[in-house]
Symmetry: D2
Subunit: 258 residues, 4 copies
């Protein structure tokens, strides 16, 4: 049967990334405590394509994923990248997973436990020449912000809102999603929780009003922690606040090689 993909390309331009996008996959993620978390990921699988070939072989990406062990940790991730690079006879392979990650958190006073979710991102690119893998970790963490301006000028109260902190980092060595999530949570007026009894709601409200923070404060607090982290050499930190007094969002961003 004819292999159209292997025929010569009519336009001789190399392609940076070609493959399959937005495939759903039942992923297992290894946690920092060595436990396993079952989740569902959206997966992108790409390789480069030299200028001489018309097409890549899309079914091989799915075969690679199908034969993979399905457990996301550093070692197995490298195996998947190598396998894809070999199956596709490529010089570069790129894989990314985006998935909700769950952690059990205790409420601050009642100590009632409950699961809370964070959208996470894990990507890597492997190159033949250097045989080096560049990895990127990312987290999206909901937090609470109390507006410092509203608090200073109002006789009573201050507007607060849900704010999402987004962090992406490149790093050497081993870094955990749990560490990035903690950095985000410690950088705003208060973390958010899944389960708060009244005694907890009182505590969270009072604590948050003691720590008012603009989106500017949040990204600076996050950046300060990332700069001083020994393994991280690049980051992008964003805060987007779903302002309770507006129908648009407040936003701040710092991107840095460090």
């Amino acid at each position: 049967m004819e292999d159209v993909q292997n025929s010569p390309a009519l336009v001789n331009i190399p392609i940076d990334r070609v493959g399959i996008k937005n495939m759903k996959y039942p992923l297992v993620v290894r946690k920092k405590n060595n436990g396993l978390l079952h989740t569902v990921a959206s997966v992108n699988l790409y390789v480069d394509l030299p200028s001489t070939f018309k097409g890549t072989h899309m079914s091989r990406f799915v075969e690679a994923l199908q034969e993979w062990n399905g457990i996301l940790d550093y070692h197995s991730f490298v195996c998947l990248l190598k396998d894809i690079k070999n199956r596709l006879k490529a010089r570069k392979s790129h894989v990314s997973f985006t998935f909700p990650f769950f952690m059990e958190r205790e409420a601050p006073k009642s100590k009632s436990p409950a699961l809370i979710d964070y959208m996470c991102y894990f990507s890597g690119e492997l190159e033949s020449n250097t045989n080096k893998m560049v990895m990127t970790l990312g987290v999206e963490v909901p937090v609470m912000t109390v507006c410092p301006c509203s608090l200073a000028i109002s006789k009573k109260g201050a507007h607060s809102q849900r704010t999402v902190v987004r962090i992406k980092v490149k790093f050497n060595g081993l870094l955990w999603l749990e560490d990035l999530i903690a950095i985000a949570q410690e950088s705003a007026s208060s973390p958010v929780y899944a389960l708060l009894k009244r005694v907890d709601e009182k505590y969270v409200t009072e604590t948050a009003f003691e720590n008012p923070a603009f989106v500017e404060d949040v990204v600076r607090n996050v950046s300060q922690k990332l700069i001083s982290h020994p393994l991280i050499y690049w980051f992008k930190a964003e805060a987007e606040s779903f302002e309770s007094i507006h129908n648009h969002n407040a936003y701040a961003c710092i991107e840095m090689n460090c």
Copy 2:
């Protein structure tokens, strides 16, 4: 050229709605003050199909929209519904538009004007037998809610958040989107604004903290106003609050024939 659509259906079941969905269209909406607002709508255009015909003629829906005057008011909407019913030789036609609607609002103290947007919904169904049109209007209005529980139990502050109020109504006579938007805005702790100077932010914060409201309070306040409205005979009122202390939303809903 063969007309496959006109051939007999193999499975003799009538179809309730068939047509085109999610078409983008540059709509002009007539405002309550008789002015015109330019916006962009997502449009659905459907008819019924008797059990005897294999298919409808999709291109005629686009022709009808293309030849329509493009100005959404009661009169022109009925014309569009009739035209579609006739072109498709159907017994029923159904059209819906979903679009952002803009209103200029003044800030409460500085009186600075700014545009604010509300997602709106306008649908109608026309039947041959009765020749009656059933219309539905809908609005999605962002508001601010201050939590009554958090306010009562905390020494300082209370969590607040952006809450969205969704209203859908069926009615007799003439009803304006502007009226439904006003009902939503008056039913929470405070309206939200696009532009607030510091003097306004102080006013909004203090006002909102004088009017704490659960999502339960918001839908009840909305419902009370809708029940007493002389033209409305059915409604669905929802409030969804993007809780600043949680990563999930609080929700309340009342649906009623009145």
Copy 3:
């Protein structure tokens, strides 16, 4: 500490549904073959609220979910509904889960296996008076449609596209998501697959071109199978086709008590 929720409502209107919306949850689903599937659900948990009480107690919903066994089958689902109704002292409880469901499918000729995902929906409402639970199952199944008109009039080829079939049903007894998925897949030009080698792609293309189908044909085929199903007493069947020759979608819908 003051229980504001228990104080009397100022506006005496009963609330149909109040609770928490769009909570993420790591769900385990029992499959037809009795195996277990790990997935992630978006969960809504609601109760009714009489006209006399100001608010419901949102944290109890999260507690109920936290203490639930987390395995979705008929029995445990009823337990969750009863538990929520009791904790909230309500007359009605309503729970819905929306989640990707994975099935392993073999390619039609090479028999290569791969996982494919379907968005599924599982909801139930329990009432005190009748003590009866009304359940709704739903599936969203991607299929392939080849246009019968384009095929009949063109010298060569015919446009085809991905089409999504959405089915919701109410039923007595025990019904499986797998059964609804199969009904959708058998009602179009061809099922879609995650992994197709060239020999499979040839087979799927040729089979699909032997079975051209409009969205009208798809919903009729689905409806015919649902009507003749002994357990189903209500359904809504929709087909939405992401037309490859247009930027809008073709749509058909049949809703029926049967």
Copy 4:
């Protein structure tokens, strides 16, 4: 009244971008033929913030937009960027608009006219030091692709699907969205249309089957045209194909300084 934003920052890190995100705005776009198109944009407005100040003044962004003439062309866009930079006393300002753009297209044989929509992107960054504006234009164009492999190996037919082409470019001088849209449309198996009578559907089907194209072919065709364009010095070209035989998408990307 206290100006909290002007107080010194506790963490002395400069912020790259701070401002408001995802504001809806009724935009007027100047077309290549000098006509005006009314649409609705999602707007982001940002400035940089030196390490010494705690916060920016968010309301000034809204004031700038409110006092702007609202007509997007090269000249007025520069005015908006300068105004924001001045009001916020910043060194850099950044503005982006994302909006549906409508063009009237004739069907290929019947010549029936109809509007079709393309999502477009227009952003610019102005720097004090250089006083130079860097602009980026972007378009998202739906096209049709017929699979060359499926066509070569099948006795009858070939799978086709809707594919979206995304182009972003940086350039010198004056470039029009209409030019980028045309480049995308000429690079696939066929353009898509809003309105096709049967004679047109026959023509589009037959033409597309004469021009089979992988996503790899599409991005190479687009890239070839962008490379040879005299004004463009950087581009990113992507094609994402909603495969009719799969539930995942095929994807290819070329990014280049040229």
